[in-house]
Symmetry: D2
């Protein structure tokens, strides 16, 4: 599969490197970026061609595009790529505007091109093992899902102000995971939040600490707790509890060394950086994309994943403001 | 300290044995039970005297009483013991009826006798280590508390029907723990529940699976998840997350043996029975009671612990029924 | 089973308490001690009778005796108890003198009475799980056994001088475990030792740090490492490695609480005291004794366990001194 | 640093890829291989030049060489590279023939070029944390070192026959680690071995299961246990025990997912392949090489590491054959 990478900032460059070097069956013929010099540097590094976005979309040497630009440009690019008949990988979120999401999904549906949203955490080996334990019936009927998702350090308040709020910026990953693991849509959201980490985040109109309860259509309950700052590192855990047992994705350690002394048994703190923590998930994500393009079948991250987590995020934001549970039907 | 044990069913007999044999500074001069033959058997086993409740309350050889009878008799016994000038240990809950709780607490206050409610989980060494990490400032300012509390198997539906509901029967332990660890009163409760384990529990008007969000006065958020049936054993965990880190009380293993084969690394399931899981907490509870009587100071489990968890349970029950967060002030 | 306890020092008193209070099917009609006042105190505590050793051995109310006196008196007591027709539990070691051991075993064999040596570690739930994984074939054919056995703090040098040396005093437990888990006799011993903990131990003619390699008749290799001082607590681990996997008995934690901060993830150090670490093994040991007396069958700790570990200890001592592997046949 | 890679088989290709793509400060201008087509494929992949060995050694564009050819060619290449004034990284072992090792080291010393042996395990983050805990004094004076090193599956018997035997082929890594962590040379070796995995290995004159005791000059004792086949994966552990505690490098998990059911708590088996297990060690190894070349100082893997582990392996082989401890002085 020949994949043109559009947007070669931090995340796009990582994707381009993985595709060019580590993913069996993938090549990167061309890369493009709003800043041509950035694209050229990445291209040189990978032996790819630096091109304009137009050139990538028009190139017969490109089977698929990876859209890794800033969120506000996603929808236009998805529409154009769909019209150009390219298979599409689009970084998450497609858009935080539901009408825009719908426009993108409509273009994809109309063109009939393969489409996958970049919710990479689904492909983390630990998280995937929880999903697989649920799907396989190993833990029976699912009753409760618990997600803990805490960042190592908060973004700058300036970013917070334009981020759409914690639920659309950060918890959106957890909303996707809840849908993915439970396999039943969310029908109601209750959210509580607080400003505990940084008063500037409060002044920017957001919270930095949050707890969410999701009620799924099939009765399963999901709890999520978030923080913008876990001083011990990137804390990412999932626990699925069901009638036959429990499947857990715990935090991986940096390494397996530890020390026991007279006062304590001590190990390393957690991985800090999301690329360190989730690198393997990106590899597996691309492997799934290549397989999907080769073998067909449903998308590894369905188009609805571009929409539903945004809806849940909007409902959570409203719940927080109004102090009551909000039905998804209210915000649809 | 000479402690008369009133009520020698399963839990009372365990208390009597611990007091007579394992707790430094405690003796059991007399035991009483509604069924005299039961008291006699326990008395014979421990070298204590079998007596009537009246005799225990009147005996100059008794400094304190342990009230271990059925819940509906607690308040009368507390009042009588207070009037008799005895120090009082009362099994939890004092009562599920707030007016009755108040009557008991008033009698205690008026008599000025030492009083401790039997919320044993506070004294579990793992849970206590979380409490102590919070109190000592080791994890900084507390932001989120997470409690998982799952029983190994559900009680009979007949019991469920008269239990007061999951929140007053089972989650009440977690409500007490939330108050104890956070150190700030609960002001609002949101609860969601489902019948996933046994339809008969639903027919009895209760749920068997529940998720609760507590908002504390100081802004801390607590999440609780409960199930009446964890097939792998008694699942009891607490996690306190704060500005400087996280303190966790994990499930203890039955023993530290495990096996690694070509297909898996496998350990034992969890302890099953609450007496197995929490035995050490009962020992520590009694040690705290004896110290309290000897050295004075505040009660290890304050009288308010007889009241606040019941209030939270009533609010949770209403939240579940009405589908909205309920302020404690509404049910006071 | 009515068990008379002879010797009510620290270990004997613990045995008497367990038998009187916790072991189903066991009672303690009488206890005896070289210091009558000591026996009287224990007797009073347990509702047993304080008696002389002669009285215990002669009493028709005693089915079995627990010999918990100092090592040098074991053999005479075993012989007398055997002649009196009592079932016998004898604390380890029976004797460090092979001729004496043989005298005791001969008396037992001649009287045909049940006999069990008190190697309690066999009954530790974690260690027993390793034994059972080997016996059941779960880890296939056994290849290597690894035992780590480190005390929290060294005994006084005065004790060391009369202890028989580290291999007969401390490693003897590990020799018994090696025989027990492997199920094949040891044929050769290689030992290396050093004085690293306390020079006074060296002056007393002993080592405080040791490594031993045992070759079993069936080709299995066992490695043991010992230290008289692990500052972090009582370190007791066993690992059996075989053709289908590995079974491990790890150190149990004091409790399951831990803390994660910016600098480390930290748990409690290990249990310190042998009664804390191995209490459950004593309970299980007595349960096995009672079952053995009731149901018959082979002794849970065979009479040969009174002899073989001593032989291995003698061979290890010689190996250390002569700097070469020593065959068991040389010291037999 | 411009590094020419000589030998582009499995390990050489991995080194070339890491150097070209992941190691800051390293580039790969040229690669060479005995089979030119192999070098050309790797060169094309990395944008390097395919060259002959002579060309690499003569090239002014090459600062250092990575010698990744088969063991029997190492010494000649080291000598030639030294004469050419190149800095040298040589895969382990330099040679299994002591005279040859000495020839290589003499050439290096005479040319005064930087030289590092590829004992990558020193750079594994977990193992390195043990080394650092020992060097920093965190665990006090070192008393005992325990190394477990088990391969997931045995090599073909044909390979075994020419491998030099388990101690020179496999345990050599552990001998290097023992020297590295203890920081004191080995003076005596005792080895025991057995054929438990595959009778063909025995017919090839080797053992597949081994236990080794090393005595270091400073009195520290090291135990090593090896197996050619751990069915559960690549089992690589180190434990350093000292006067102030213990530092452990445990096996890393494949991922942090696990499942708890009514019968067991189960996690994934271990990583299987050495490139999976030790990939990070190779990255760190190269980072250390680059730093060494830039900043000078002692080699991260000293030249003596080319010699001492071979000596210990020869002594271990003799100990196994002769059934006695063998002093290093005997084989020097």
């Amino acid at each position: 599969v020949r994949i043109g990478v559009i947007g070669t900032g931090r995340i796009g460059r990582m994707h381009a490197q993985l595709l060019a070097r580590e993913i069996d069956g993938a090549t990167v013929p061309a890369v493009a970026d709003a800043v041509p010099a950035v694209a050229e540097r990445v291209a040189a590094d990978l032996g790819a061609e630096a091109a304009t976005i137009d050139e990538v979309l028009a190139s017969p040497a490109v089977d698929a595009v990876a859209i890794c630009t800033s969120t506000d440009t996603h929808v236009d690019l998805v529409v154009r790529a769909a019209q150009a008949g390219k298979a599409i990988f689009c970084e998450k979120p497609v858009s935080l505007d539901l009408a825009q999401v719908d426009r993108a999904l409509a273009a994809v549906a109309s063109a009939g091109v393969p489409f996958m949203v970049g919710f990479n955490r689904r492909f983390d080996p630990g998280h995937a093992s929880v999903h697989s334990a649920v799907r396989s019936g190993q833990i029976g009927e699912l009753h409760v899902l618990r997600i803990t998702s805490r960042d190592p350090s908060p973004p700058p308040p300036a970013y917070v102000a334009v981020s759409g709020g914690i639920f659309l910026d950060m918890t959106i990953h957890d909303f996707d995971m809840a849908r993915h693991v439970v396999g039943s849509e969310v029908v109601e959201v209750f959210a509580r939040g607080a400003v505990r980490v940084d008063p500037l985040i409060g002044e920017a109109g957001d919270v930095d600490t949050a707890v969410v309860v999701l009620t799924h259509e099939d009765g399963t309950l999901t709890t999520i707790d978030n923080s913008r700052q876990a001083v011990y590192g990137f804390d990412q855990r999932i626990e699925a509890f069901g009638s036959l047992g429990m499947a857990v994705s715990d935090n991986p350690a940096r390494h397996a060394g530890w020390v026991r002394t007279a006062t304590a048994t001590a190990a390393q703190p957690l991985p800090w950086f999301f690329l360190e923590r989730y690198l393997e998930s990106y590899r597996q994500e691309w492997a799934a994309f290549v397989t999907y393009l080769r073998d067909g079948g449903p998308s590894p991250v369905d188009p609805e994943a571009g929409r539903a987590p945004v809806l849940i995020g909007i409902a959570a934001t409203r719940s927080l403001r109004e102090g009551r549970p909000v039905a998804i039907a209210e915000v649809q």
